[in-house]
């Protein structure tokens, strides 16, 4: 029987990569559990409240978006809107051209991966350097990140050292500290020479218009301290209603994603630098990006827009741990990706419709999600949609005959009693492909159809 692409990818995955992904994920999950339950008596209550706040935002984006825009503009920020990936990239380029800028340093933002900003800018003669260490390594390797928070969870130090040597960053040395120092030195020069610093935003407050950016490395700080212009690319769903809600969300984000109480740096950005400050951007732009989010908003899976990109669902997912991020063939892997990626693909939904199937619906993701997204329900809805749109699904047995039998008691009972034949058939002759496939790696239990009903009838007539 044909099987699914993600399953095939998992099968081919190098054991070292699988081990790195498994161990990294498990560590992230264990740290999350420890810090949340060590610090708070009822973390699940916090998740539910945060989920309600985000759901409220999602369902009131028509009010919040203009409100955020007005706050930003009041602080001297230029606000742009980009309906598509192309429009977002074009907006960035236009800002750079208007300043005669040719060099950008980039802090980590998933939206820019969605739009393919880096390659687009390079094609247009702009040097665009990733500054997050993991993303930098991905960039020099011409690779793709495999986790939304830990982009090189799939790489080991030897691979990184070889990449650094190929990129002219020194003779082969796989000591992690040496690798990090080299990156520090190299990127320092890039920050200081850059014209524009680009960041994303983890949150945007509708009350004050503040953007919040969280990092551990200090790269976003440097993007905002050295270049003279700041561009922030932000998905339209990143809004929080009130400043005070940051108290809840900042307490959940780092704990959920990396097991830290807070990331090392939490930046609250409201506008260009103050008049007396020599360092930092004199000009600030925010680009609100749609790129399929309004499609998601219109769908029955809009709850996924609550996502704050913490990565907790990836860390706990047993399927992600076996397959790794690259198996998902899209910017967002893991449970969140299995919902978001096919939906963001718009008309190309069918090309990623297998992602929602890569799940046993175990619900671990829902249990760890800081905004309580019912991911299994959303995966189920997408399976229904894929079937309705006639997307073929290799390996999924057809259920029509089953449904017929299961709605006709007499036929069901006949099958129960008749099925005993299976006990006597060699597996290869069993007329149900799914069963044959299953029997390939499972010992089959003995068919005992009818035995219970007979026993019960006898018991009742005694």
């Amino acid at each position: 029987m044909a099987t699914q692409p993600i399953d095939q990818f998992a099968k081919r995955l190098h054991p070292d990569t699988k081990a790195a992904v498994y161990d990294g994920s498990k560590q992230g999950h264990d740290k999350r559990t420890q810090v949340l339950f060590d610090h708070f008596p009822d973390p699940d209550r916090l998740r539910r409240i945060a989920g309600e706040i985000k759901q409220h935002v999602v369902e009131n984006l028509d009010t919040y978006l203009p409100q955020v825009e007005a706050r930003l503009q009041a602080h001297g920020v230029t606000v742009h809107w980009a309906a598509t990936a192309e429009a977002a990239n074009a907006a960035v380029l236009a800002i750079m051209r208007s300043r005669g800028a040719t060099r950008m340093v980039k802090s980590k933002t998933m939206v820019s991966e969605e739009t393919g900003l880096g390659p687009f800018l390079e094609k247009n003669g702009i040097e665009c350097v990733e500054t997050d260490l993991g993303e930098f390594i991905v960039q020099i390797d011409h690779d793709q990140p495999s986790h939304i928070v830990k982009p090189i969870i799939h790489k080991n130090r030897r691979q990184i050292a070889a990449s650094f040597e190929r990129h002219g960053l020194g003779a082969y040395d796989d000591d992690p500290q040496t690798i990090t120092r080299r990156a520090r030195q190299h990127l320092r020069g890039k920050y200081l020479a850059a014209d524009v610093g680009l960041t994303g935003a983890n949150f945007v407050s509708a009350e004050s218009g503040r953007l919040v950016v969280v990092t551990n490395e200090g790269n976003s700080r440097f993007c905002l301290a050295a270049p003279a212009c700041h561009i922030a690319m932000v998905g339209i769903e990143k809004i929080l209603p009130r400043d005070r809600d940051l108290g809840l969300f900042l307490n959940l984000l780092a704990r959920s994603g990396t097991g830290q109480q807070l990331t090392v740096y939490t930046e609250f950005i409201s506008g260009p630098r103050s008049p007396g400050q020599p360092d930092g951007p004199e000009e600030m732009h925010v680009i609100f990006v749609d790129n399929g989010r309004t499609d998601v908003l219109a769908s029955s899976c809009r709850d996924i827009l609550r996502c704050i990109r913490c990565g907790a669902c990836l860390n706990v997912c047993p399927v992600y741990r076996q397959a790794s991020g690259h198996a998902y063939r899209s910017v967002y892997p893991g449970p969140v990706g299995a919902v978001l990626s096919p939906l963001l693909a718009g008309e190309d939904f069918a090309t990623l419709a297998d992602l929602p199937r890569a799940s046993t619906l175990c619900g671990a993701c829902h249990e760890v999600c800081p905004v309580d997204i019912p991911i299994p329900d959303l995966l189920l809805r997408l399976r229904d949609r894929a079937k309705q749109e006639g997307v073929p699904s290799p390996g999924t047995p057809p259920m029509g005959v089953w449904a017929l039998l299961a709605s006709r008691p007499a036929a069901w009972r006949a099958a129960l009693f008749g099925g005993k034949l299976i006990n006597h058939l060699p597996v290869t002759l069993v007329p149900v492909p799914a069963l044959r496939s299953w029997a390939g790696n499972h010992a089959l239990p003995e068919w005992r159809g009818g035995a219970f009903r007979t026993w019960l009838k006898d018991r009742r007539t005694k």
């Binding site: 060590d38 008596p41 809107w81 429009a87 990090t180 440097f222 400043d243 940051l246 930046e267 609250f268």
Partner: protein, 204 residues
């Protein structure tokens, strides 16, 4: 991109139109997110110092201790916010040279940067830098050592209090320990793009 603005907003409205009602905004008590260890805390500095050490930061309560730290580690040249320098200069030996101007062309000359923080958060070991309060953004960021100077009355206990205290300032940074990464095989390395040493000097 005005047409994109209209098209996005119109798509948002269209997407939400069929909803029979919109999810309400819940309220929540700040109490819920104050960590166990900070409840009923009396001495904020003690908790702060403990949490700061927990993220490998260095709490200091005397300028002499700061000087000792610099001397011990061979950090002999750095920058200090000119507004702070008069309070500290007398404790510094001649073997340590301090500039009160920051030259970004010589960014790697400065082994340490001493700048002003506006607030400290006890339950997380965090110091808060503001744009208007930080003489040079680069001075607090680029040198290997950052010393944030804060006064005893500029302390709050928990994150909700710190959020409530956010001033009207274009760039506020909560710094919780030295910069770090675990991107290489999950191994923790300190000192990435930001400082590798985060000290906090408490002045009364």
């Amino acid at each position: 991109m005005n047409t994109d603005r209209e098209s996005i907003l119109s798509r948002v409205r269209g997407a939400l139109a069929p909803l029979p009602y919109r999810a309400a905004l819940p309220d929540w008590e700040a109490e819920l997110v104050v960590i166990r260890q900070a409840r009923g805390m009396v001495d904020a500095w003690t908790l702060f110092a403990e949490r700061l050490r927990g993220v490998n930061g260095i709490p200091l309560t005397a300028v002499a201790d700061l000087v000792a730290l610099l001397v011990e580690n061979g950090w002999r040249h750095g920058y200090c916010d000119p507004a702070l320098w008069p309070n500290l200069a007398s404790a510094f030996p001649a073997t340590i040279t301090v500039e009160t101007m920051f030259d970004r062309a010589r960014v790697d000359d400065y082994q340490f940067g001493i700048t002003r923080a506006s607030l400290a958060i006890a339950e997380t070991g965090t110091v808060v830098l503001t744009d208007t309060g930080t003489s040079r953004r680069l001075a607090a960021l680029a040198p290997w050592v950052h010393v944030a100077v804060v006064t005893r009355d500029e302390m709050v206990i928990d994150v909700p209090q710190a959020v409530a205290a956010l001033p009207d300032d274009p760039n506020i940074i909560w710094c919780t320990g030295p910069s770090k990464t675990a991107d290489v095989e999950g191994i923790l390395i300190e000192g990435v793009h930001g400082p590798g040493v985060q000290a906090v000097l408490l002045l009364d």
